[in-house]
Amino acid sequence: GTGAPGPLTPAAEGASGQPLSGRLTVFAAASLTGSFERLRDDFAAAHPGVQVQLNLGASSALARQIVSGAPADVFAAANPPTMATVVDAREATAPQVFARNRLQLVVPADGPGRVDTLADLARPELVVALCAVAVPCGEASARLLSSAGVTAAPDTLEQDVKAVLTKVALGEVDAGLVYRTDVLAGGGAVRGIDVPQADQVVNDYLVAVTSSTGNPSAARAFVAHLLSPRGQAVLREAGFELP
């Protein structure tokens, strides 16, 4: 278990006034792993009658599972398009933005410090890792680079942020573009460098209660918890920006 239980909200019951109970299954993007584990523990402490299950994975995989009939109550996606596929399939309605993330330049913590601006990504002698354009972070990186007018010279186009981060942490790569939250999760091995243009490509995290949920009151309570000050604090701690 992670995170100490915070101050308990008195609202240990649902909208109807009945204490919440039953199972609650939350599908969440893998980049939310740490934060959602803490949120789950907080929520469970506040609603002892509810058993919260987290199903973590790539947003796209989660979306696919939900569309195939997976028993999800809440879906938290790392980017709007995946949420859109679920909404389009009428499996969820009214998604809400609950967090934002922005890109940072990431370099090895013990690196020689040759990289400080986005423009350095164009230097051919450096080993540069970016996310592939097909995945959300890659699409964001591409937008960032084009808005900054930089033609990067990547050596590899990774399938997700984690893959970029691992290579930077091991020092195999001189620089990459990842989300701020990932830089924080990466611990001491990597160093994040803020990129001014990143404001323009902020990535929204969306959450929605699914249409097929068997426990709508608990689901709504979880979403409310996510958007509550306590929930937002946890997210901010992990490096997310708030909507």
Partner: protein
């Protein structure tokens, strides 16, 4: 002359592990070992991989036998199709299973409508995903063993009145026990390390479908050193299981 490539091969397989061990966060290990989540994931992994291996043995050995011994039109096609799941990227394999057995799948919709059974996101789904990915290994290894076995022992058993099934059980299988053992080890190991198909088809619910490789994947997100430490724990456990299992099988059958 043979020792040189053999040594190179060994080094090739072992040095990366060594590098892993050298760089592993040894400080993190003790706390990991006692944490209940790790225990849960490991136990689930072992249970699922063992069940998947058993399922593969039950279904795969007869299939290998049919491929090696029976002569029917289209055998080449059948063999080719059996080989296919091997090259399928595991994630796509998981998608295929969803398309088949999901609530809206080709078969799954009837299971759901008629019996109220929903397979995905259960421990059963993990076993199915692992078996789907691992069974071709067993089938191909066993078919290879069957083909190199001397068929005349089977003839001798047949003249003694043994039916095909009896011959298979009492003569053929014991004779190719090392081959089956090898196949089962491959199958078990593949199942134990399986990730893509499982997470696609069964999701990742702690205690239900979150096997160790999935836990490693998630830890890689939140705490990379812990992920490596967890992999080492998985390795240690599986080596223990494999060594104890395999040496028994191999020696029992060696002549």
């Amino acid at each position: 002359m043979l020792l040189l490539p053999a040594g190179l091969g060994f080094a090739f397989l072992v040095l990366p592990l060594l590098a892993l061990v050298v760089r592993a966060p040894w400080r993190a290990l003790p706390s990991l070992l006692v944490s209940p989540e790790v225990g849960t994931a490991l136990r689930l992994s072992l249970v699922c991989a063992t069940s998947a291996t058993l399922l593969c043995l039950v279904l795969g050995v007869p299939l290998a036998w049919v491929l090696a011994r029976a002569d029917f039109p289209g055998r080449r096609l059948v063999r080719a199709l059996v080989t296919v799941p091997l090259v399928l990227p595991p994630v796509v394999g998981g998608v295929a299973l969803l398309l088949l057995l999901g609530r809206r799948g080709l078969v799954g919709r009837y299971l759901d409508a008629w019996f109220g059974i929903s397979i995905p996101f259960t421990t059963g789904a993990v076993i199915i995903a692992e078996a789907f990915v691992a069974m071709p290994f067993l089938v191909i290894a066993v078919e290879g063993a069957l083909r190199s076995a001397d068929r005349r022992y089977e003839d001798a058993a047949a003249t003694l009145g043994a039916s095909r099934g009896t011959v298979l059980r009492t003569i053929t299988l014991p004779l190719i026990a090392p081959g089956i053992s090898a196949g089962a080890v491959l199958c078990f190991a593949r199942a134990l390390g399986e990730f893509g198909a499982t997470i696609s088809f069964a999701g990742s619910f702690p205690g239900v479908t979150q096997t160790t490789p999935i836990a490693v994947y998630l830890a890689l997100e939140s705490d990379p050193p812990a992920a490596i430490a967890l992999s080492l724990v998985l390795l240690g456990v599986s080596v223990l299981v494999l060594v104890s299992l395999r040496d028994r099988w191999m020696t029992g059958a060696s002549r």
